[in-house]
Symmetry: C2
Subunit: 340 residues, 2 copies
DNA sequence: ATGAAAGCGCTAACAT
DNA sequence: ATGTTAGCGCTTTCAT
């Protein structure tokens, strides 16, 4: 009847050790100003009793939770998964846990999830915004909680962001295709109105323009809108034949690859291809896939590090906008021949 | 000076609405026994003040956190990622968040992470145990918190588990290879002493034995121990040549595929291959990969559902051991010819 | 170096 | 239907 089903509390420890609650607390927190002997005695009692501090109660007073929140569109996406893993590692090093939620890319859900996280008193937030607009997040700034966005910045805000060189990476890929002598290059992708999408498209468009070539694009709202038949048509369209395809994200790449396979088109010889986003088996494909790889883990790591810096910083510092480089992996599908 | 930087609390709401704290609390919780008019009034004040309930404080009294903890070996692994995504969805439906940690497959770290989660008062735990032994987890049973293990069961415990038909799936794959007339089949994999590893090996070994064929295996402690040179040697060893390879998990598959590519061996014709674990590009490979696919999302979903059932159940019920079927995707690498 | 008392923001008993 | 009084388990003034 004394303890019901609950574990021992600090009060129990204190009583058992014959010290005051506060002293027990000091021992728990390695506070200075406690006799080593006392501390040791208390700690002995703690382990004897199997005492487990209640982290929630601990945070109540100081209104800190030792938790950070993270919101991504979809956990199952390898890009997000790597980032989350990295964030989690940094969080642990900083004595924090991560509360993870996914928004499905839905702004409404994202709002809800953010609200949930804030109510749970997370000390910081890392978010891959569903939309780039400020609206979704700004109300939380008032909650005084540090926010770092990754993958996309949040415009019109002074929220830190970690992104990659979307535009320049696509430019590099496009130029590589041009260097092979390809002239008719089709860019396929999704969400051209969202940040990453529009940046990537812009990289392609500007490069083509500079080369005085006609841009050819097939852009849709959502990856699921990509129509294999349209792609087939596009492949045949026009006077000559298409030289190359640039896929603007992983999902698109898979879809295009599938269509090409059905058509019996041989990538690399019949048509060149470069993919934004890498795959586990990209190297093993025949031909192996030339890709732009995003440093997903690095993105997560940096985002988390910045967040903790922000959280620990006494005084505010200017908005940080970190841009990481992608890496360009030239393999065979772009038309290059590898020595195997 | 009144509110510092903190948001409004329930006390503020109550005062502002001219009701008692308890009444405000009732309005917040949709408690019965409150006049609709009063409830409405309170809620109006809440939104006017931008009141955000402190979920941590809420849980303190009832010692519930509305959070579940999840521990996986590595978040970046697609299998884990899918499972986590599913768990998160179920958790949300149940009004819970998920606190996610990764153990790196390290038992010590796993213990630490579990300890952290329990201290954070998670209401339930889903874990892909680093080891199958009971030791790591049993001390938390005393904490009276429901635990569900997935991917591997925890032996000598009465912890619920969700697993897949590892052994039978490999048996099916092996039999398929045999049906093609292959006799010298090499099984390659890792962690043969851990649950999934040993089950898969057992599926292979028993099938070969029943067919009166010699088993040939290359098993290592850790995927990173897989030595390309050993694989090369194995490929050449013996009187005849090897007919087929069975890779016992995704990482192994990638490695073997890479070796085969370097050797110029053509999968499907020179040597057949079936992979335990699917890949995004498995279908697009030439030849496409025949695989055993684990229902990762389903695993996560079921684990979470079971956990919540357990959490909500007033009275205890017997240990559940749910085993889900994998799916066998016959493509080309096993020697089958697909109509393209 | 140690302790007593007062809360953190909320919910749970027990009134009324 | 509403309010009062205690806590939840811990940290934090402020004493001593």
């Amino acid at each position: 009847m004394l303890k019901k089903t609950n574990g021992p509390t600090l009060v129990d420890v204190a009583r058992e050790a014959g010290v005051s609650l506060k002293t027990a607390s000091r021992a728990l927190n390695d506070d200075p100003g406690i006799a080593p002997a006392t501390a040791k005695k208390v700690r002995t009692v703690m382990s004897r009793l199997g005492y487990r501090p209640n982290e929630l109660a601990r945070g109540l007073k100081g209104r800190k939770s030792a938790a950070i929140g993270m919101v991504v569109p979809n956990l199952a996406d390898p890009f997000s998964a790597s980032a989350v893993q990295a964030v989690q590692e940094v969080a642990r090093k900083n004595g924090h846990v991560v509360v993870l939620t996914s928004s499905g890319g839905d702004e409404l859900l994202e709002r809800e999830e953010l609200e949930t996280l804030v109510r749970r008193q997370v000390d910081g937030l890392i978010i891959a915004p569903a939309d780039g607009r400020t609206s979704t997040v700004d109300s939380f700034i008032s909650a005084n909680i540090p926010v770092v966005s990754f993958d996309r910045p949040i415009s019109n805000s002074n929220i830190d962001s970690i992104t990659v060189t979307n535009r320049d990476s696509v430019r590099e890929a496009t130029e590589h295709l041009l260097s092979h002598g390809y002239r008719r290059i089709l860019a396929i992708g999704a969400r051209p109105h969202l940040y990453t999408g529009s940046e990537r498209v812009a990289g392609y468009v500007s490069t083509m323009k500079r080369a005085h070539l006609k841009k050819e694009t097939y852009l849709v709202e959502n990856e699921s809108d990509l129509d294999p038949e349209v792609i087939q048509k596009l492949l045949k369209k026009g006077p000559g034949k298409l030289d190359a395809i640039l896929t603007l994200n992983g999902i698109t790449t898979m879809l295009v690859l599938r269509v090409l396979r059905q058509l019996g088109k041989r990538v690399g010889s019949d048509i060149a291809l470069i993919s934004f986003d890498d795959f586990e088996l990209a190297e093993i494909l025949t031909p192996s896939l030339t890709v732009v790889r995003q440093p997903a883990a690095e993105l997560g790591r940096r985002a988390a590090e910045l967040l903790f810096t922000r959280m620990q910083s006494k005084k505010p510092f200017p908005r940080q906008e970190i841009v990481l480089s992608t890496t360009f992996h030239i393999r065979e599908s772009c038309g290059c021949t590898q020595n195997i």
